[in-house]
């Protein structure tokens, strides 16, 4: 009961502070709406598309001609990788397409034997880009294979003439043209080089990336929910500075109840913030001509993510209060820590962008990553509770770690 009195008192103090309220509610809304309205959708630009290539036929004339042809096309830019390296990058989604030129490609095409080029696509690969790459590869490969077939046929005829056999006299100009036409027609129906587009099962299913609106709403909400933890830390600091903790410690209230009260107010405030951010965004976005967003198909899962996010922020507040000694230190964590963690966690830029930047491992070390992943799994990818158990467990684990360290280090006087 005493914890409740402490929590209500804290909320009363917070709601009397208009500056704090502005900071908590208006800043994230300004970011959500401002950035969503200002930033254009993510699209392919005029830059040539990256085409990672593994060349298992190094030194081959045809393979080199294919690579040169692709680069000369101007629509793609070939990036050469070793096979193992390319496989790892593909699995980590650092590259989303991979063309493999098989061993003996040049020899086979020279001999007129059909060969297959394999274009592997990650489930996350953008369809437009994949189609563009496929067309470019097909175009260059067909020209190369036709060229190879013609050269092979004519070369064969030349050899026969050179041997001076009886048959050599039959290679009249008309016969040569007919041979070339025949090869050309054959290349249409039975091309020497076939490009096969595949999507390996091992790479999992496609992960739909969020739009800016779907990124900004949970992103800035999560950042500010962790911002509330700073308010909690300041509240504990101020109680110590004012001496009211001393008065409370002399009253019939346990330290546990006192801390629980502080946490409860943070928890309630975090939940209020989450509710307001999502409600305002969902209601106002369409009115401003922005994309309509939903909370997904599993409201229970959404509530669970929100409850765990609020818990994590609350525990983080206790941790900050425990490890800081001055108002300056708390402010530093507020201005740097919360925003830096938000960035690393994928709250400012989508997590898949951070993966491209090679920050994937660091991202997973902050709770914000798991919170936004869970929200976007529900809101963007239509997933349910069963699909987000890992992010939920991660948030729970972070909460437990923050709380344990916080309680261990917190001094009340």
């Amino acid at each position: 009961m005493n914890a409740l009195h402490v929590a209500i008192n804290d909320l009363r103090i917070l709601f009397k502070d208009r500056g704090q309220l502005m900071y908590v509610f208006l800043i994230p809304l300004a970011f959500i709406f401002g950035i969503s309205m200002a930033v254009p959708p993510l699209e392919l630009g005029d830059e040539p598309a990256r085409l990672p290539v593994v060349n298992l036929d190094p030194g081959g004339e045809a393979s080199q001609a294919l690579i040169d042809g692709l680069n000369a096309d101007g629509k793609v830019k070939v990036e050469l990788y070793e096979q193992d390296e390319a496989q790892g990058l593909l699995e980590n989604r650092q590259i989303l397409n991979l063309l493999t030129i098989p061993a003996g490609f040049s020899e086979d095409t020279a001999a007129g034997r059909p060969v297959t080029l394999q274009l592997l696509n990650h489930p996350n690969a953008d369809d437009t880009t994949t189609e563009l790459l496929l067309r470019a590869i097909n175009g260059v490969a067909q020209v190369s294979s036709l060229q190879a077939q013609l050269i092979a046929g004519l070369s064969q005829m030349g050899d026969m003439q050179a041997t001076g056999s009886a048959g050599s006299q039959v290679f009249t100009p008309e016969r040569n043209v007919a041979q070339a036409q025949s090869q050309f027609e054959r290349s249409k129906t039975a091309p020497l080089v076939v490009v096969v587009k595949t999507q390996p099962q091992a790479l999992g299913e496609a992960i739909q990336n969020p739009s800016w609106v779907q990124q900004n709403i949970p992103g800035y909400t999560i950042i500010m929910v962790f911002g509330i933890s700073v308010i909690t830390a300041l509240s504990i600091y101020n109680e110590k500075k004012l001496g009211s903790f001393r008065r409370l410690l002399a009253a019939p209230i346990s330290k546990a109840a006192l801390l629980a009260g502080k946490m409860l107010s943070n928890y309630a405030m975090a939940l209020i913030l989450i509710a307001v951010m999502f409600a305002v965004s969902i209601l106002l976005m369409p009115l401003l001509g922005l994309e309509r967003v939903t909370l997904g198909n599993d409201p229970l899962a959404f509530v669970l993510v929100s409850l765990l996010l609020a818990l994590c922020s609350t525990s983080f507040g206790v941790l900050i209060a425990a490890i800081t000694r001055t108002e300056g230190q708390i402010s530093a964590i507020s201005s740097i820590g919360i925003w830096l963690m938000g960035f690393l966690g994928g709250c400012l830029l989508p997590p898949f962008v951070l993966e491209f930047m090679g920050l994937s491992a660091i991202s997973k070390a902050v709770p914000q990553y798991w919170a936004i992943t869970a929200y976007q799994d529900l809101m963007v990818r239509g997933r349910g509770l069963a699909d987000i158990t890992t992010p939920l467990l991660a948030l729970l684990a972070f909460s437990a770690i923050f709380f344990a360290i916080g309680v261990w280090r917190l001094k009340f006087d």
Binding site: N2, I13, K16, L242, S244, R247
Partner: protein, 341 residues
């Protein structure tokens, strides 16, 4: 009369440092007891242990018959604490602050409203009760600070330096409040201060604490009588044992000794004019010398005899300070230090 508070050999250590060194004292029911000492003497640490803010390292105390080491939950309901800091929420009104602290003590509904109204009356702030505390003067904040310690009607009230930084009007309110609580409601009070005049006015008995130890404990009257007729400090350029013996033999002089000579710091911030106990008479020192401490049976008579003695022998007096018998001079006598050093 039964003791509401009995302290037994209370010790507080922080690592190698012992800040309270085994103090013992008791406070009778209905008594106003003074705990005197300079800043850092161990007063606040002692109160913190008695109110459950920090645990004692060893020793114990019984409050209302309950042991503070094992029954602090019961002790806390008997205690009221008015900390030295303004332990209030500045953005809330006085009433909201008092409501909150009352609820922490389990009060609610009509009882809480009545208790809050009552303590607001005691500290004379009823008409400003709904104003945000930030808008109050320092003295008014102090009064709310006291009210917050009273809202649950404690049996034993600890007032830790309650008049630091307050204006004379608020100090009078505080004095009247404390006296009224004691006389009309029978509340036992432990009053800590380094303002001796306050303790002399308010308290029946007092313990003088220095460096974590009680160095004197008695009624105010007996403590002051320790000094007899007062103390005279005379600064001389040269002093020897023969001179001290001659001075001690003068009529109205009890004892003559060499006094320690601590540097007197400037008054602390917030110490208002009129509260700092000044010596009765002082001639400032005019150079290095030795201070002779004269314990007098009667200060005026002793002074006349001393001046005659030095005039006849043509011994120049470098400085002169007459300390009338009061708690300040008692402390100086006991420790060789002024209270605000």
């Amino acid at each position: 009369m039964a003791a509401i508070l009995a302290v037994e050999n209370l010790v507080k250590k922080y690592g190698e440092s012992t800040v309270v060194k085994g103090i013992s004292f008791s406070v009778e029911e209905g008594e106003v007891f003074g705990l005197l000492g300079p800043n850092g003497a161990g007063k606040t640490q002692t109160i913190s242990m008695l109110t459950g803010v920090i645990p004692p390292t060893s020793g114990t105390a019984r409050i209302g018959g309950y042991d503070i080491t094992t029954q602090m939950d019961k002790v806390k309901r008997l205690n009221g604490l008015v900390p030295q800091d303004l332990a209030l929420y500045p953005t809330l009104s006085a009433r909201a602050n008092l409501n909150f602290f009352g609820r922490i003590y389990g009060l609610g509904g009509k009882e809480l409203r009545e208790r809050v109204d009552d303590v607001l009356r005691i500290v004379a702030l009823t008409d400003r009760a709904d104003q945000v505390i930030d808008k109050y003067s320092g003295g008014m904040k102090r009064r709310v600070n006291i009210a917050a310690g009273l809202v649950h009607l404690p049996k034993l009230l600890f007032l830790d330096e309650p008049t630091v930084g307050v204006d004379p009007q608020s100090r009078n309110y505080i004095f009247e409040s404390v006296m009224s609580l004691n006389r009309e409601r029978g509340m036992s009070i432990v009053y800590t201060s380094h303002y001796m005049e306050e303790v002399e006015v308010l308290c029946n008995r007092a313990a003088v604490i220095d460096q974590g130890q009680i160095i004197a404990l008695d009624t105010i009257k007996n403590l002051i009588e320790m000094l007899g007729g007062g103390i005279i400090h005379i600064g001389l350029q040269q002093v020897d044992d023969a001179l001290l013996a001659q001075l001690a033999a003068l009529p109205a002089v009890k004892r003559a000794t060499i006094a320690p000579q601590p540097a007197a710091p400037p008054p602390a911030k917030g110490e208002e004019a009129g509260i700092a106990p000044a010596p009765a008479y002082t001639i400032p020192a005019q150079g290095a010398g030795t201070i002779v401490k004269i314990e007098a049976e009667h200060s005026q008579q002793a002074l006349l005899n001393l001046i005659s003695f030095f005039s006849e022998r043509d011994i120049p007096i470098v400085s002169l300070e007459i300390l009338e018998p009061n708690l300040e001079s008692v402390f100086l006598h006991l420790t060789g230090k002024k209270l605000r050093e």
